[in-house]
């Protein structure tokens, strides 16, 4: 990928049109950073010849927050609210990835109920994220209706998250050691009601899109990239599954009891925008399946591990027992120390492999937290996907990547 020559650009033709071909004009066009279909602040430098794209270079960094660096001045538990803000559509997945990495360093045993609850929550997160993707992606391509319906269902999910954690998006509900709070009263009804109604809603989206001739024309064969090229870019998640590779960390390197659940990994061969659409829709169905199993088989027991020097003591004990109160003071004021070492844990976020690499130097604050975010790697596939295609295809291809810019820039 060569850097476009911007000195000669500024919307003037780089080459004078040759005699007799008035249409041959190359120009450089900025798509973004404020373009609505770039979903955040992404600038794509398009080199065009007419409507045809010669080259596309994503220019990232507009949303750089320094969140990885910020982690180094927080205690381990205080990092959790930061992980919420990496990917605003998959907050609980990020909570989980980080918690698993720290728990690996601490060698904590997480009780089954907490593990299953985590599975249930990150699958709800997957549906939530895919709903936002579907709605915005369809709207980019021109189907406004789907957007409204998707956000209606997402509202139910956000209410469920609020019920659990007190916040619709920035949940910080999965913590090092288990969950932040006991699952709320009535959560079974709320989640049950949602997953009972959701499959019929999915069918509605399908009625609106799957066979729709406009949708098919805009997505079939668009944004194709061969599996090898995708792998070269480090792409993971639904994008490589839509290219025929059956790779899903939930199955291949199970974490948090995923090996106890029965679900399919949907794949397609076509590796175009339409195939990615099909894969994500099917993933939502599989998520419903997983959630149902998690609800039916939810184990009894503790929702947080018993590690007095890591997890805050029970509230009642803290108020009545002096020992618990001392632990409470100690954990709150100093945090907990983590043995020196490093750990990498990856999970399957809605967008692909989400990895947390945590280095500890034996103190109560991480020495380094690196986030292997799926959006960053997936975005690298964009130039090859759109080269030689039309501008309008860029919008479809961009949407099919399903990136979140907070996740790209960190």
């Amino acid at each position: 990928m060569s850097e476009p020559d911007l000195s000669s650009s500024s919307l003037t033709p780089a080459e004078e049109p040759t005699e007799g071909s008035t249409s041959r004009r190359r120009m450089v066009l900025n798509m973004g950073p404020q373009h609505p279909s770039t979903h955040g602040v992404l600038r794509i430098i398009l080199e065009l010849e007419g409507e045809t794209i010669l080259n596309a270079t994503p220019d990232i960094g507009y949303l750089h927050t320094g969140i990885e660096k910020e982690c180094e001045v927080k205690t381990y538990q205080q990092v959790v609210p930061l992980t919420d803000r990496v990917d605003y559509l998959a907050n609980l997945s990020n909570n989980l990835g980080y918690s698993l990495a720290v728990e690996k360093l601490l060698q904590l045993e997480i009780p089954p109920k907490a593990q299953w609850m985590r599975v249930l929550l990150v699958e709800l997160t997957r549906i939530n994220s895919h709903l936002v993707w579907l709605g915005t992606h369809a709207m980019d391509i021109g189907a406004m209706t789907v957007f409204l319906y998707c956000f209606r269902e997402r509202e139910d999910l956000l209410r469920i998250f609020e019920m659990f954690s007190g916040q619709r998006m920035m949940t910080s509900y999965i913590r090092v050691g288990g969950l932040a709070l006991e699952p709320p009263r009535g959560w079974e009804q709320a989640v049950g009601k949602f997953i009972d109604a959701f499959p019929s809603k999915l069918a509605e989206y399908e009625d609106l899109l799957t066979k729709n001739p406009i949708w098919m024309n805009r997505t079939k064969g668009v944004g194709f990239l061969a599996l090898e090229d995708l792998l070269d870019c480090g792409v993971t998640g639904p994008m490589i599954r839509a290219a025929g590779m059956k790779w899903d960390i939930r199955k291949d390197e199970p974490y948090s009891s995923y090996d106890k659940f029965d679900f399919e990994i949907p794949t397609r061969e076509a590796s175009d925008v339409y195939a990615r659409y099909e894969v994500r829709l099917e993933e939502m169905r599989q998520s419903v399946r997983i959630i149902r199993q998690a609800m039916d088989g939810m184990p009894e027991g503790a929702w947080v591990t018993s590690a007095p020097n890591v997890v805050l003591p029970e509230r009642e004990k803290m108020k009545t027992q002096i020992e618990a109160l001392i632990y409470h003071f100690k954990i709150v004021t100093e945090g907990f120390t983590v043995p020196a070492g490093e750990a990498y844990v990856c999970i399957e976020s809605p967008r692909g492999e989400l990895g947390y690499y945590v280095v500890s130097n034996g103190t109560s604050k991480p020495h380094r937290v690196f986030m292997r975010t799926p959006s960053f790697a997936n975005l690298q596939a964009l130039p090859d996907m759109v080269k030689g295609r039309l501008i309008a295809d860029t919008i479809a291809a961009l949407g099919s990547i399903d990136f979140v810019l907070g996740d790209v820039d960190r």
């Binding site: 209410r159 916040q167 006991e182 609106l208 805050l312 029970e314 004021t333």
Partner: protein
């Protein structure tokens, strides 16, 4: 030719199906909330603007132990402690918070302060309308955060203590 007709027919059928969904949805009840005309509904645990609680005698629960500010990831709680005296008793404990500020231009409503508080003094209320054109007004003082003095008012104005580690 025949396949063209077939294509056209199946396209028309697909579009009609889509329109069917739209028509069906037109008949179903509206779920849009009418905020600000109708106040929004929150879940019990909603983390809104903080409320500093009082005990049953009307004294402040906060004993200025600084745990909330130690646990706050965004470092936005500022406290100055002072001793209670016999003539001036503000809190139930030995000390009380002479100054207790929360900087809402920094607060991320994470609830860590509420988890840390050993006396259930700081809790999340359900208030949320704190937007302002002037950020200097976003530093809330203790007087703004405190629950009203009369017990009856207290009951209506605040949500129950969060029960951070106990069943709700």
């Amino acid at each position: 030719m025949a396949s063209k007709i077939q294509d056209a027919l199946s396209s028309a059928a697909a579009l009609a199906k889509g329109m069917g969904v739209t028509l069906k949805e037109m008949m179903s009840p509206t779920i849009t909330e009418d905020y600000p005309d109708v106040p929004p509904k929150f879940q019990e645990r909603y983390r809104g603007v903080h409320v500093l609680q009082r005990d049953e005698n009307g004294l402040e629960k906060c004993v200025a132990c600084f745990l909330c500010s130690a646990n706050c990831p965004s470092d936005c709680i500022y406290i100055e402690a002072a001793e209670n005296t016999d003539s001036l008793r503000i809190s139930g404990g030995e000390r009380y918070a002479r100054i207790y500020n929360i900087d809402y231009s920094r607060c991320i409503f994470c609830g860590y302060c509420v988890e840390a508080c050993p006396t259930d003094a700081i809790t999340h209320g359900h208030g949320f309308e704190i937007a302002s054109y002037d950020t200097s007004t976003l530093i809330w003082r203790k007087e703004q955060l405190l629950a009203p003095a009369s017990p009856r008012e207290t009951q209506t104005a605040i949500n129950p203590p969060p029960g951070v580690r106990s069943p709700v």
